[in-house]
C-alpha cells in the first residue's frame, strides 16, 4: 500500500485520489484508538508549529482542529479575524506572511472567499489545510462524514447517501459529493429548487425535490443547515415552510421501510432541518461525527506534516 499522500496541501477533496482518502481513513483508525486512551496524546509533531487562521466564525471545526493539533503535540497559534489587523486593511498574503516569518510549518485556514486556500497554498512556504473556503469546499468535514459512514455501515462503496437542504451555499455538500463519489457511493441531493444549483447533475448526482422519496431511496441522510448568513435574498417563503417540507421528523423516519442513519455537520437548528427527537435518536450518528472529526483531522495533519522538509 502506498503510504504517502499524492498532494502537498489539503485544499479540496477534488484533488485527492481514492488511495489518499483510504490512507487518511486507515491512519485515522489509529488516531481514534489514541484519543480513547487514558493519555490522549502522541509526541509525533512536537517540532511542528501550526497556525489556525479563522477569517470566519467557527466553533466545532476550530476546536476540533486545535484538539487534533494538540493531541499530536504540535505547537498551536490561533488567530481570528475579528480581533486582528485584517480589520485595519492588511491583505491576506501579508497577514499570512507575517505569521509565517514567526516560523510556522502549517496553516489551517477558514476564509469566506472560495479558493482562498488554493490561492494561499500557491504563494506560501507552508502546508495549507482548508478548513472551509466560502461556498467552495470543506474537505475535512467530508472526510469525517465518509469516515463516519464507513464506521456505521462497514463501508462507503455502494451506499446511497442523500444530502438534504441548502446545497447552493454549502461547501459541505460539494466536498461530500466529491468524497463519496470517489469512494464509490451513490449521491443524491434534495431540497427546494431554489437551493439546488442548476447544473449540479453534471457532477453525477441525482436530484430529488421530495424529501420522503429521497429518504426511501437512501441508506444515509446528511441534513444540512440552512445558511441564512450566506443568503442575501429569500430562497423560500419562511423557515416554517421549509421545515414542513424538508425538516426530518421522527414520524417520517419511523415510517420508512428501512432504518437509515442520520447525519448533520452542525451546528443544528433544532426544529428546522431536523427535530430534537431525531437528532437524539439512536439512528443519529451526529456525535460520532464530532468524535471522528478529531481523529480524521489528526490523520490529515500527520500525513501532511510527514512531507515538511527538515531544515
Amino acid at each position: 500500500m502506498n503510504n504517502n499522500l499524492s498532494v502537498e496541501h489539503l485544499t479540496g477533496i477534488k484533488d485527492l485520489t481514492r488511495q489518499d482518502i483510504e490512507l487518511i481513513f486507515k491512519t485515522a483508525d489509529n488516531f481514534k484508538d489514541v484519543i480513547n486512551r487514558p493519555i490522549k496524546k502522541v509526541p509525533s509533531l512536537r517540532d511542528i508549529t501550526i497556525a489556525n487562521l479563522f477569517f470566519e466564525n467557527s466553533t466545532r471545526t476550530r476546536l476540533s482542529f486545535e484538539l487534533a493539533e494538540k493531541r499530536l503535540s504540535a505547537d498551536v497559534v490561533n488567530f481570528s479575524a475579528a480581533s486582528s489587523s485584517v480589520k485595519k486593511g492588511e491583505t491576506l498574503i501579508d497577514t499570512v506572511n507575517n505569521i509565517l516569518s514567526m516560523k510556522v510549518d502549517m496553516v489551517v485556514m477558514r476564509h469566506p472567499n472560495p479558493g482562498a486556500a488554493k490561492f494561499l497554498s500557491e504563494r506560501i512556504d507552508a502546508k495549507v489545510v482548508n478548513a472551509g473556503d466560502g461556498t467552495h469546499e470543506h474537505p475535512t468535514q467530508a472526510l469525517l462524514d465518509a469516515f463516519s459512514i464507513r464506521e456505521a455501515l462497514g463501508e462507503v462503496e455502494g451506499k446511497k447517501v442523500v444530502i438534504v437542504g441548502d446545497i447552493l451555499h454549502s461547501r459541505v455538500a460539494l466536498s461530500n459529493i466529491y468524497c463519496l463519489q470517489k469512494l464509490g457511493a451513490e449521491v443524491m441531493v434534495c431540497g427546494p429548487t431554489t437551493l439546488i444549483p442548476k447544473y449540479i447533475h453534471e457532477l453525477g448526482v441525482k436530484v430529488e425535490h421530495n424529501l420522503r422519496k429521497a429518504l426511501e431511496w437512501c441508506d444515509v441522510a446528511n441534513m444540512l443547515r440552512i445558511q441564512l448568513e450566506r443568503q442575501d435574498i429569500k430562497y423560500f417563503p419562511s423557515l416554517r415552510e421549509y421545515s414542513m417540507q424538508y425538516g426530518l421528523t421522527k414520524e417520517i423516519l419511523d415510517s420508512l421501510p428501512k432504518e437509515i442513519k442520520v447525519m448533520h455537520p452542525g451546528p443544528i437548528n433544532r426544529g428546522v432541518e431536523i427535530t430534537s427527537d431525531v437528532a437524539d435518536s439512536k439512528q443519529s450518528i451526529i456525535l460520532q461525527q464530532v468524535e471522528n472529526g478529531v481523529a480524521v483531522r489528526m490523520a490529515v495533519i500527520y500525513l501532511l506534516a510527514a512531507k515538511i522538509e527538515r531544515h
Partner: protein, 183 residues
C-alpha cells in the same frame, strides 16, 4: 548477501521454552503480569510465548500488542511517513508488571519509543524487556534486555531476521552478511 542460520527450528523451540521458564521463575503464575508485544514482529514472539506459557501454567496469560509509530524519534527523517499498525491492550496496566517483548534488540530506539507508548496507558509497577535476539554492542541508547533468547555479535552492515513458521514457513533466526565486494 551471505546467509547464516544462527538458530534453527529445534533450537528456536528450545529457546522459546527456556524463555517461558525464565519468565515463570520471576513472575510465578502470571496473576499480576502481562506480556506486551511491539508491533509488528514482537507480536509473533508474544503469540508463541503465550501458547507455551498457557500450556505450562494451565491458565490464561494476558497479552497485548503495542504500536509505537507515533512515538518514534525518526518521524520526518525517513522518506515516507510511518504507517502505524494496531495497538490492542484491552486491560489496565496500572500497577501491573509488564514484560515488553520484541524480536530483535538492536539500537534500543524502538524500546525507548515503546516505553513512551506504554506509559500512555498508565503507570505499570515494573517494566521488563524480553528479546529473542540481542545484537549486543550495537546500542544507541542505554537499554538492556532482562530475558534474552540468543545473543549475537554483529556488524552494522549485517542484518538479523527472525522468521516464523506461520509467515515464512520455518522457525529460524538468520544472519545476513553482505559479501566483501558488496561492502
Amino acid at each position: 548477501m551471505e546467509k547464516q542460520v544462527i538458530l534453527n527450528s529445534r533450537h528456536f523451540e528450545l529457546t522459546i521454552k527456556r524463555l517461558c521458564y525464565e519468565l515463570i521463575e520471576q513472575h510465578n503464575d502470571f496473576s499480576n503480569t502481562v506480556l506486551i508485544g511491539l508491533q509488528p514482529r514482537g507480536v509473533n514472539v508474544v503469540t508463541r510465548l503465550k501458547s507455551q506459557l498457557e500450556q505450562i501454567l494451565g491458565k490464561e496469560v494476558l497479552c497485548g500488542t503495542l504500536d509505537i509509530t507515533f512515538y518514534r524519534d525518526d518521524f520526518r527523517r525517513t522518506e515516507k511517513p510511518l504507517i502505524p499498525s494496531v495497538t490492542n491492550i484491552d486491560f489496565v496496566i496500572e500497577n501491573k508488571k509488564v514484560v515488553l517483548v520484541d524480536d530483535v534488540l538492536y539500537t534500543g530506539r524502538t524500546i525507548r519509543s515503546g516505553l513512551d507508548a506504554l506509559l500512555a496507558f498508565g503507570r505499570p509497577q515494573k517494566v521488563e524487556l524480553l528479546t529473542l535476539v540481542d545484537r549486543r554492542f550495537r546500542r544507541d541508547l542505554p537499554i538492556q534486555a532482562d530475558y534474552i533468547g540468543k545473543t549475537v555479535d554483529t556488524l552494522v552492515s549485517e542484518r538479523v531476521s527472525v522468521e516464523w513458521k506461520e509467515i515464512e514457513g520455518e522457525d529460524k533466526v538468520v544472519l545476513y552478511t553482505p559479501e566483501s565486494n558488496e561492502q
